[in-house]
Subunit: 438 residues, 2 copies
């Protein structure tokens, strides 16, 4: 190894504000993958990157190296433009579940490799696994075959996909180096670029319940993601969407699957459908199945109206070992033993539903993971959540709490009682869909 | 543990430019000592400290926590003001060896815990160990007893002295976080404050052969060291001294002990004596044994002239198991098998003796360690080195090379031939002793 590629030398370069070369970034990512760099060297460089930044070129090289650290799915044999959607994560964000079958039903293949929930943010995999029998641990070969056969597969990250990201993310999590745009870009896009897609629509969320607290931060991240995704040879668009109150009326795994199925039956809540249509329209545009947003949204509405999106979802569920009957009988989904209604303390208007506080209540109920090794309880969560601006009468339900025992229900009642506010005046209506970056 | 003392929280604080509290710095140093922080967390914080800095107060708290991570020698039973000297390291810097017995002979106790050489810089311990039988691995109890009995002990760092420094220095070495003034301060002073001293004179070197390349950098380090040492309750002074050419005329362990003995016989080279007197004078002033520099230097000259410094050195050597006869018969020191004279290529004036290049030649001969686990050859090195500004005749010796075999001698001849330059004009005389910070 050339001395210029010694870990100390590369760390010192970035420490001093230098720009790392392809060879240096390659050595770093290889070091994370094969263990030739010690963890303490990786974390020292991660901190130096956090504080010194990376140029767009460095970020693209980093993402490329991360992608190439493992296998890259080859879907070239699947006809059409393959389009995926990725969300930076929010509360009640089950959009992928109705969206994927809707877009596939419109003729665009959707290969989707998703993550698990951690902290306040839920994960698509955990939600799907609440469907009895549903398997998300398909091999890459089975994943490719299923995309070819039915246009879609919804699976989890296999261990040979961007393994460097798994290593580096675990280190970032315990060394205060998570909130760094170039590192976030690399982590998100390395996995997405490895899944065999041609185009990607990003849902970059901002607000109390999102990773990025302000629209400005979200725009910065979205801009970087679009730039780096393009450097990776993909068509990429990003939509900024608000995440101040939960999306839809449910939070919790089986409850969110139930709401997703309702969407496909044409009974989805307005805010959830608005985001789903907006992202789906961009996917159809990138997938070459519509000329403009209006045409795209009309097509998406049609596949709900004619039941073909619902049938596509059933097909996916069955293909992945799940019980297809849940599509018509959502009661087959796991249910919590304790259901408690949270009554409104007064008559008035809902002035706040704090997404983060709702998420923490759901976490307390067992719907999520505080630590990676925590087990999830699929049936618990919150349903029937009121939305900001809705009128309410004293004693009417603000939401229903689904708990596995009386004591966690009691804590959740208290937490949600603080998260949901009733007042006299309607707050100004907040925009849900923000800027489109393309 | 309070969540505010979680490693991630403390790392994030410093990452964001915050000032760490005593509790936070304590948790970090404790984490390094007892292993409750992972290495990757330690290195992430070290990099954050490197890039964000530490205030003088943080540096003092860090130093204090490092000192308290192990045992602290108690010399309160020894009468008098105990004074030590520490050098930031140079080439041919054997000052401690003649200095300690000189100062002790003047009535000031000198408890001295030294380090080993690493890289281009030699270590007092390695030099002393070239004396047959000399032991530097005294227990802390034996060290205290010897200081009480004869006023001086010259030992190595025991494993229970500031163990956090050993851990953190090893990490810094491989994560590009060495050259950071607050971390350097902590590392140097934690060990010195633990050795039971009341006062400390620092020799902060600058130049090609020193850690700090410019006088400005050395001043910054010296300033920080004085400030932090005082915060630790010690009287501290720092002298800036030049390190562009080797100090004295020898580089190599036994050769430097020989030169040190010559100093005690009143036959030391001028530059080495100048630095030794300057540092010794400050030690006598701090030790309350002189009113001014002139009085101090007169006392130091007197203990050489009357042989009492030499006798004190013999006493120390014998006390630590060494062969006291070397004091009168330096030929008893280990000798290299091959001695080669490097002749001057032309008649003229010595225009350069590059300290770093000479050090690297000595390292090549086996006088030092490139890696911590390397073994040292006590007899090898360079003697009879010319000094910048001296006249030379073609063919006369620029130096004598002491090697263990012909092949390393040949490489050293080549390296030294480049390190030592002969020209026609004497370069401007450079100042050896710079500013005193107190």
């Amino acid at each position: 190894m050339s001395p210029s590629l010694f870990p100390q030398h590369i760390i010192a370069q970035k420490r001093d504000g230098g720009v790392l070369s392809r060879a240096e970034i390659g050595a770093f990512v290889r070091g994370a993958t094969d263990g030739s760099w010690a963890d303490y060297q990786l974390s020292a460089l991660l901190m130096a990157i956090f504080l010194r930044g990376m140029t767009p070129e460095e970020t693209a090289l980093y993402t490329d190296a991360m992608m190439r650290s493992g296998v890259v799915a080859d879907l070239t044999a699947v006809p059409g433009i393959k389009v995926d959607k990725h969300s930076t994560g929010g509360v009640g964000d089950k959009v992928s579940i109705p969206l994927a079958p809707m877009v596939v039903a419109c003729g665009v293949p959707v290969p989707m490799i998703s993550g698990r929930g951690l902290g306040h943010s839920g994960g698509t995999l955990d939600k799907l696994e609440s469907i009895p029998g549903f398997r998300t641990d398909l091999s890459l070969a089975d994943y490719c075959a299923q995309v070819a056969r039915i246009g879609c597969a919804l699976i989890g990250q296999t261990k040979d996909l961007a393994p460097s990201d798994k290593k580096l993310y675990a280190l970032r999590d315990v060394t205060a180096t998570v909130e760094c745009i170039p590192l976030i870009c690399g982590s998100i896009l390395a996995k997405k670029l490895a899944e065999g897609i041609d185009a990607l629509v990003l849902d970059v969320k901002f607000g109390r319940g999102a990773f990025m607290k302000t629209e400005e931060q979200a725009r910065e991240l979205a801009h970087a993601l679009v730039q780096v995704g393009r450097a990776g040879g993909k068509k990429v668009r990003a939509l900024l969407t608000a995440m101040n109150q939960p999306l839809g009326r449910t939070v919790g795994n089986a409850l969110e699957v139930g709401e997703s199925i309702a969407c496909l039956h044409g009974e989805g809540p307005a805010d959830l459908m608005e985001v789903t249509y907006a992202l789906g329209a961009q996917m159809l545009l990138l997938g070459g199945k519509a000329e403009d947003v209006a045409e795209a949204e009309a097509k998406l509405q049609a596949v709900i109206a004619d039941g073909s999106a619902l049938e596509k979802f059933r097909e996916i569920v069955v293909a992945q070992g799940g019980d297809g009957r849940v599509v018509d009988e959502p009661d087959r989904l796991p249910q919590a033993s304790h259901k408690v209604i949270l009554p409104a303390p007064a008559t008035g208007i809902i002035t706040d539903v704090d997404a983060m506080q709702v998420a923490l209540a759901a976490l307390r109920l067992g719907a999520g993971r505080a630590k990676a090794e925590d087990r999830i309880d699929p049936g618990v969560g919150v349903s029937g959540l009121v939305k900001i601006g809705e009128p309410i009468e004293a004693g009417a339900a603000l939401c229903t709490i689904h708990a596995s025992d009386a004591s966690s229900a009691k804590v959740a009642v208290e937490m949600l009682g603080k998260a949901i506010r009733v007042g006299n005046e309607a707050p100004p209506k907040a925009r849900l869909i923000g800027e489109l970056l393309s």
